[in-house]
């Protein structure tokens, strides 16, 4: 499945350009979804926001892909652009999205609509606002089956009962007559899953399906999704900001940053051999249960770039601990580290690049604040050899006690 495309201006020397000659290994018959150089932009008074900027993906039947990124990384816009769920007004969608050979970008609206629900379905983050509050659950679950599969009411209802049982809802007969507000958040998400599964889709998007839920319910819902995905041999795209959620439950992971895929690999390979500094930083900023309490967290200083005018070089460079001069000038292409493992970095993790310590950097201000202010925060930066970084930075202790320094943000230390 993994065939991220390197259609960047900077895909130059040494870097094999994977897609020019279709480097994908999957045979056409296995390929369910193929996204080629997809761009999605929003027109705003300030200019075009490049929410998705040249993403390519391939997904085989029955496989699961995790898309991970912070808010604003474009992961949700990507999944909606693939399905074609974004409004037409002020949205520019360019590129190719092949679903079983049909290009969803150019296909007529009616044809795409016939695919929604029947072939591909989406489970949204917030089950309260994505279920219709004034319609009984029974009607919402059966709607797709009646419309797409032409079932009569009776068959559809008995199917809905079976579905509710499958997704672990007690007293399904009673639930069919209830409204969404009568259910808890976890139960609503189960109903959302039942709605999505109703027509037996081949591809399910789950966009932060558990972010609104408690951790115990999250585990139940993720287990349910995984079981349904396996039993029905559906392909699934699991979109989340939580690397913990995708770690044990996907075949492959694509990490997004500022509208681009910055690293993509089979799940085990990604965790075993992180190449992209952003992925590494993301993993390290998560508080770990095994760490003793009060251990200092390694925050990522600053924030993602403005997507109207992204920086010319690597988009992660301003926050990267390994940043070099070249990173600020040239956008690195996606290159293949080992079969199936792609990353977008000039000086990948483990290549011995020196570490840049951002001293006293607070959070870099929001977009509307001029760049000059960011400079104020940035404080001095000094480049240290990778080996000596740990001692020099003292895990951010340098910042403590000094009132002028925010303290955090100085954790760019190994």
């Amino acid at each position: 499945m993994s065939s991220p495309n390197g259609t960047d201006p900077g895909s130059a020397g040494g870097a094999t350009d994977p897609f020019a000659t279709s480097g994908s290994t999957a045979t056409a018959s296995h390929r369910l979804l193929e996204v080629i150089d997809l761009h999605t932009g929003f027109k705003t008074p300030r200019g075009r926001v490049r929410a998705v900027d040249g993403v390519s993906l391939t997904l085989e039947r029955g496989r699961t892909l995790g898309i991970v990124g912070e808010s604003g990384s474009g992961k949700t816009v990507l999944s909606r652009s693939i399905m074609g769920l974004l409004p037409k007004r002020n949205v520019v969608r360019e590129g190719t999205v092949l679903y079983e050979g049909i290009d969803l970008v150019t296909a007529p609206a009616e044809q795409v609509r016939d695919l929604w629900g029947a072939e591909m379905a989406m489970i949204f983050q917030d089950p309260m606002t994505s279920l219709n509050p004034v319609q009984r659950l029974g009607a919402q679950i059966t709607e797709g089956m009646r419309y797409h599969l032409g079932m009569d009411r009776k068959t559809a209802t008995s199917n809905a009962l079976a579905l509710l049982r499958e997704v672990g809802i007690p007293e399904p007969d009673r639930r069919l007559k209830q409204y969404p507000h009568e259910l808890s958040g976890g139960m609503r998400q189960r109903v959302m899953i039942a709605v999505a599964l109703a027509c037996g889709p081949k591809l399910v998007f789950a966009d932060e399906p558990t972010t609104a839920l408690d951790v115990t319910v999250q585990a139940q819902i993720l287990n349910l999704l995984q079981r349904q995905q396996r039993e029905r041999a559906m392909a699934m795209i699991l979109v989340t900001h939580d690397l913990g959620v995708v770690a044990g439950r996907t075949d492959e992971i694509a990490v997004m940053y500022a509208g681009q895929v910055v690293e993509q690999a089979p799940t085990a390979q990604l965790f075993a051999n992180v190449r992209m500094p952003y992925t590494e930083a993301l993993l390290q900023s998560i508080p770990v249960l095994d760490a003793p309490s009060h251990s200092r967290l390694q925050a990522i200083p600053g924030r993602p770039p403005d997507l109207v005018n992204p920086p010319p070089g690597c988009r992660f460079a301003p926050r990267c601990r390994y940043v070099q001069e070249r990173c600020l000038q040239e956008l690195p292409p996606l290159v293949e580290a080992e079969p199936g493992h792609w990353y977008r970095c000039w000086f990948p993790v483990g290549s011995g690049a020196p570490v840049t310590v951002h001293i006293g950097a607070g959070e870099v201000p929001a977009d509307p604040i001029p760049a000059a202010v960011a400079g104020d925060f940035g404080g001095g930066e000094q480049v240290l050899p990778a080996g000596g970084a740990g001692g020099a930075g003292g895990d951010g202790d340098a910042g403590r006690g000094d009132p002028a320094l925010g303290g955090d943000g100085s954790e760019g230390v190994v």
Partner: protein
């Protein structure tokens, strides 16, 4: 779980805050919501107390009831020798300057129409602390302390800042009255994981610098472990377990704590998420909480005794208190999981 009891409380002379038998009930048309049912806890000066539990367990209500927003139904809240529950509104307002709250949603807890300098100076203006120039000086210093450049930020409004920066502003606002106790209610759950780490580190730094005592309310056990000196696990308005974080996470004694820990997704593909040990079913209604131990309807080890008798908090290891008849790892009875009758399969 669901215990009451005060075995875990420490000597009243040593503590900054002592909450005894706190009860908060909300009347509704369908009956009384038992949000908090007899919670006792205390905090030493300089300590960070973590309150964890699922939504609906009463952790936020506990935090708010401590500052008397709203006043609890019954129970006592002693802070520096005063019982807040009996204090008249005037003196209570005055005392509240020492007890500050930080909320979950940083953007909606700042007035969108006001400038940062006014938002931060308002508490000092209300309490007539210093001249206007002195107040502005405090605002500058506090902004610097939370890692925001005062020169560019003071004349901006909240919408011009990111979520993480707004949370820094909320923290700054809480600090200008020089509080003793900071109650943080899910301060990082609305933030991205990279920004979350920044805010957690900031809170830790400020705590050391200003000698703060903190109550840290969150549903994320890993976050709570990172910041806390002592952790209280709550379920449906009651305390399950109290222990130091390292002890609690290594040797959970309450079946609920154990289940919570097992539910956390681990960022390691080598660890396959197990369907065992995670909880089935959902939180029972706080309108009619279960008899006996409130956790029994979802507990894999529930016995007859759990339905009739409410467990009391007792010490099972040094510094570890649990409200359970059959705690995990106990020598007396090591119960086998039994099938839960009701509950949702999954």
């Amino acid at each position: 779980m669901a215990g009451t009891g005060t075995a875990h409380l420490r000597s009243p002379e040593d503590v900054l805050l002592r909450v005894e038998d706190l009860v908060v009930e909300f009347p509704t048309r369908r009956g009384k919501v038992h949000a908090v049912s007899g919670i006792s806890l205390d905090i030493l000066p300089g300590e960070t107390l973590g309150l964890v539990g699922e939504s609906g367990c009463g952790k936020s209500t506990t935090g708010r009831a401590i500052v008397q927003l709203p006043r609890p139904t019954s129970g006592r809240v002693r802070f520096e020798g005063n019982d807040l529950t009996t204090l008249k509104p005037g003196p209570l307002r005055q005392l509240r300057t020492k007890l500050q709250l930080i909320f979950q949603d940083p953007i909606s807890s700042l007035n969108p129409r006001r400038r940062v300098r006014d938002i931060l100076a308002e508490p000092m203006r209300i309490w007539k602390r210093g001249t206007s120039a002195e107040q502005q000086q405090v605002v500058r210093e506090t902004l610097e302390a939370v890692g925001i450049d005062p020169d560019s930020a003071m004349d901006r409004r909240p919408h011009q800042f990111s979520g993480g920066q707004c949370q820094r502003l909320s923290i700054a606002r809480a600090l200008v009255t020089e509080p003793k106790l900071l109650i943080c209610d899910e301060p990082v759950s609305a933030l991205d994981v990279s920004v979350q780490a920044q805010i957690l580190n900031l809170l830790q730094d400020l705590k050391e610098r200003f000698g703060l005592t903190m109550i840290f309310i969150a549903h994320d056990l890993a976050v709570v472990k990172n910041v806390s000196d002592r952790v209280v696990v709550m379920y449906l308005g009651k305390i399950c377990e109290v222990a130091g974080p390292d002890r609690l996470y290594a040797h959970p004694a309450h079946p609920y704590t154990d289940a919570l820990l097992k539910s956390i997704p681990v960022p390691d593909p080598g660890i396959r998420p197990s369907e065992q040990g995670t909880l089935s079913g959902e939180l029972p209604s706080p309108l009619a909480p279960p008899s006996g131990c409130r956790f029994r309807t979802r507990c894999p080890y529930a016995q007859q005794r759990c339905t009739t008798e409410e467990p009391q908090l007792r010490e099972v290891a040094p510094g570890q208190y649990v409200a359970c008849h059959f705690p995990l790892g106990s020598t007396s009875a090591s119960p086998q999981p039994v099938e839960v009758a009701a509950g949702v399969p999954v």
